[in-house]
Amino acid sequence: MTSDTARSQTSAPPLLEIRGLNLDFGSPRGRIHALRNVSLDVRATQVMGVVGESGSGKSTLAYTVMGLLAENAEITGGSIAFDGHDLRKVSPAARRKLLGDRLSMIFQDPMTALNPVLTIESQMIAIQHHQGGSPGEKRTRAIDMLKRVGIPDSQSRIGAYPHQFSGGMRQRICIAMALLVKPALLIADEPTTALDATLEVQIIHLLKELQQEIGFSVLFVSHHLGAVAEFCDRVAVMYAGEVVEQGAVREIFHNPAHPYTRALLACDPGRIRERTRSLPTITGEVPSLLGSRQGCIFRDRCPHAFSRCVEENPVEYHLRTTQVARCHLLDHSQVISA
């Protein structure tokens, strides 16, 4: 994490560059604006965290990059550039070439992410269809990768079916499969949410170790602030379909600038040092994403909201080295407006 600032200042273009992304879901009640004006970068060998509560659009963002959206989803604006490809314009065939080669994904629920009627072996060989080599070589690679993610006795266990493994083991297998294709970017959608506390730590450590060893980039979607603080270099905070603040993990967690980020961090009982019987909360509810909307998305729940928040969408204000936040409160002489 100490090398983050150095890395972020390199001039190489980011591996994944999302600019002004807008995405709607069609529904019987109207169009739901699930992502609005989302911009973020994932640089090479960097871990980008996306945090937010349920319904903030963080998983939708991950699925958009992978191209795994439901049929009622429509990208209405913006661009997604990955490694020189415009993911909005690539043909389905070209996208399929990227998936399972340059791009791979770990899903939230390890219990349903594997095919129950196929052995681990056949699934791990099948995922290498872009790679060269005989089935025997692919099998050897699979066994090596299983060993690396800590599956004991992988030589014989590779022939087993998913139900013969526990949840933690299955998530390790999913990680092994995702990394087997040597991806440039790994998308992890809440990979530890379904696991117990002691396993969660194991999985995060495993991902961190492999990331440092192999050097791939990660888009890590999570609602767990502790996991993000440990694993990520940078973090984007999402609220109701918008990225309200992003920057280096250290800057965001130590000096949150957006009122939502501050409220979210204050709510985490793990950050409250003194024992308290009255836990902080964010009053009110997430606004409906139906229809068009003007002004700041967080204003109904914001303790600092003023007239400008109703009238005008906040732009991005740059603070410190890497931190960017969308809040009118930051618009004063000391800060350089975007």
């Binding site: 526990s166 002691t198 730590v201 709510c267 009982p269 909360t281």
Partner: protein, 344 residues
């Protein structure tokens, strides 16, 4: 204060499918013991937290207390009366005084009933026909801070936090002395989680209800529980005042659980005790101390002989099951993680 609920040496068994399975895995008897020899008590108006990972038997304890699962042996005394051996009808007056909140906030509400019916169902079940259903529903909704017109809604029209509040209101319907809350915050966002816990705390202060909270989330336990018990493979490995457990854990499993709690501070100094492997299967329990397969301090004796429950010499209410309990010198790891200071 007298004990409201006293559980002694409770054992709960589940039959294993087929005896062939038992023979193959080397178990002698065709059942698994999900809860084996658990003893604890809850005093009036107190919060006890039971913490453990999946499969540790914590939810089974809750289900046994309210009679959804029969105990194989042991005693459950509620307000001085043995209820473990009572028939369903005999148990009913006691069940009125214990309310259960189930794990899944939306899933535990019948999708075909309105909130009004859900809230007044306990009155029908317990034959309290004289109550005015509309007035009771409004009263209960008010208690949990929901508007009265929610009575007409169906569960699918509620958010997770609202459904959880309805669950709390339903638990309150019969003015219980004890609420058993099974993972009351699972699946809720942090901003909503605080609301639900604050609500439970407020009701406890106002009504003097005792709460048994079952959870795997240590972060919330620290703030809401008076006492905490840590479960591993169906047994308590450590139990004591919450402050003490967090300040001076004695069992290595507690130590590992505490340090497994990712700290939302990127600069935190981590002296993490990472557990190797996974929780063993209850079908094939390890010999001796059942934690020895994952314990970094395990010695020869741990593999052979199961440790007895020991009490802290200074504080007899703090008990643990370990031959080599953690000494004070090992506590620097926690101080670096800036957990509450002594007395805090």
């Amino acid at each position: 204060m007298t004990a409201l609920l006293r559980v002694q040496d409770l054992r709960v068994r589940f039959p294993v499918v087929g005896s062939l399975m038992a023979r193959l895995t080397g178990t002698k008897e065709p059942f698994i013991e999900a809860v084996c020899g658990v003893s604890f008590e809850i005093r009036k108006g107190e919060t006890l937290a039971v913490v453990g990972e999946s499969g540790s038997g914590k939810s089974t304890i809750a289900r046994t207390l309210i009679g959804l699962k029969a105990a194989a042996s042991g005693s459950i005394r509620f307000d001085g009366q043995e209820i473990g051996t009572l028939s369903v009808t005999e148990r009913k007056p006691y069940l009125r005084r214990m309310a259960m909140m189930f794990q899944d906030p939306v899933g535990s509400l019948s999708p075909r009933l309105t909130v009004r019916s859900l809230l007044t169902e306990p009155f029908r079940i317990h034959g309290l026909k004289d109550r005015d259903a509309d007035a009771e529903a409004a009263r209960l909704l008010h208690m949990v801070g929901l508007p009265a017109d929610f009575a007409r809604r169906y569960p699918h029209q509620l958010s997770g936090g609202q459904a959880r509040r309805v669950g709390v209101a339903r638990a309150l319907a019969l003015n219980p002395d004890l609420i058993i809350a099974d993972e009351p915050t699972a699946g809720l966002d942090v901003s909503v989680q605080g609301e639900v816990l604050n609500l439970l705390t407020r009701l406890q202060t106002e009504l003097g209800i005792a709460i048994l909270i079952i959870t795997h989330n240590l972060n919330i336990v620290r703030h809401i529980a008076d006492r905490t018990g840590i479960m591993y493979l169906g047994r308590f490995v450590e139990m004591g005042a919450t402050d003490e457990i967090f300040r001076q854990p004695r069992h290595p499993y507690t130590e590992a659980l505490l340090s497994a709690n990712p700290n939302p501070d990127p600069d935190a100094v981590l002296n993490r005790i990472e557990l190797k492997g996974e929780v063993p299967s209850v079908l094939n329990r390890p010999s001796g101390c059942e934690f020895h397969t994952r314990c970094q301090y395990a010695q020869e004796i741990c593999r052979r002989v199961s440790p007895e429950t020991t009490s802290n010499s200074v504080n007899p209410t703090h008990s643990f099951k370990c031959y080599f309990p953690l000494q004070l010198t090992l506590l620097s790891a926690f101080e670096n993680r800036r957990l509450p200071a002594p007395g805090g």
